[in-house]
Symmetry: C2
Subunit: 231 residues, 2 copies
């Protein structure tokens, strides 16, 4: 009963993987399923709904495949982050959709809950947890999207020629960093390092930390007000 919808979604996934998202038209998809374009609308309200269904399928297939709940909080966070990156590596077209559609599917909520639990276990005070969840997920999805859509490096022009557009005097930072900019980046290592930094940030939030403050004399604590519990 109704396995047809999943067939269609999977066909759409394959098609997008092979020929890119912009090649995913209702007609092309119908062709691949071996059916008339309009037949798809029996199983999918819209093209938008089709896309939603596709990311839903991705999330359910790859995110909460966690058999191990015995790991430490930071390992669980890491696993989730890497799973997310793996998805957008396998399906680069999906990255943008993760941003456009709010995380409203059950599996997405489940993923959020995993992060909540990890933060709580890390000792982050309850009122801070939602903010940190958003911070983490935003960064992870942002990194994955940047990588998938080529915002990080190579592009068509290497950093050298990119810089060439402007006189060196306009770009003191670039000239100062000089050779460091030209080496190829190992994005996996960088992702790891970033996650490690974020982990540090979480443990910082776990102890009340107010003394680490910035060098610039600013006094904001980085915490939103949580003096009074909500009614």
């Amino acid at each position: 009963m109704g396995g047809r919808r999943e067939e269609i979604l999977d066909a759409a996934l394959d098609l997008a993987d092979e020929r890119g998202l912009e090649a995913l038209s209702m007609r092309a998809l119908a062709d691949r399923v071996g059916v008339t374009p309009m037949a798809l609308y029996r199983h999918v309200k819209d093209k938008a709904a089709l896309l939603d269904g596709m990311v839903g399928r991705l999330l359910s297939a790859l995110l909460p495949s966690d058999t191990a709940a015995e790991q430490a909080w930071d390992e669980r966070l890491n696993a989730l982050a890497h799973a997310c990156r793996k998805v957008t590596q396998r399906h680069p077209w999906a990255a943008h959709l993760l941003f456009s559609r709010p995380a409203v599917t059950p599996d997405a909520v489940r993923a959020v809950d995993i992060i909540y639990l990890a933060l709580i276990e890390a000792g982050v005070p309850d009122p801070e947890v939602p903010r940190l969840e958003r911070l983490i997920s935003t960064f992870v999805i942002g990194f994955a999207t940047s990588e998938a859509s080529g915002r990080f490096a190579p592009g068509v022009l290497d950093p050298r020629s990119r810089r060439g557009q402007l006189p060196d005097s306009e770009l003191p930072g670039h000239t100062r960093l000089g050779p460091w900019l030209d080496l190829p980046v190992d994005l996996t290592a960088e992702f790891e390092a970033d996650l490690s930094d974020i982990r540090r940030l979480v443990v910082g939030a776990a102890r009340g930390r107010g003394e680490v403050g910035t060098a610039g004399g600013r006094t904001t604590t980085g915490a939103v007000d949580h003096s009074a519990p909500p009614r």
Copy 2:
């Protein structure tokens, strides 16, 4: 000489602001400019090039409007971040484009340079600067995009009904956080808090920091190898 192109780009900006990005067709734009669709192609290679030109114009108009270079590094970072968010607040459609098109325009490079300089001045060791720049810009753009495309909250369903899809036993994190999830979030305050956290992360990278380590016994330092300077 060629002021026509800017006229067209500005008309496109206005149109996208008023009626959204999906209403920006070559025909509609041509109408607004008072011209035939094909006339646009004299000034713009593609529709893609049109979009690129639009974000270029946004960046050049709003990002490096910095008259004050006398501020401390963290204030300059803050200013840049807030400018970015302001852009995507005024032009929500632009958020996705920031991710899709690599930062290749001169103004984008200039923005990157500003971040480089700030990090250097903060005392971050040279080899770490590019990574931290990517981390920061990724987060800032990610936050702006999330906000602009409704990934953060309200959406159509409030958190209560969202949670309702799943049994509470499946979402221990949500139930534990309970009331904190239902209050409206002040995204401006949250952004500020996030930036403050990131600032802390930067000063952490500035001193060699290796002792803060995670609670879980993991020993990664978060730094990529920078023992040997590149040739």
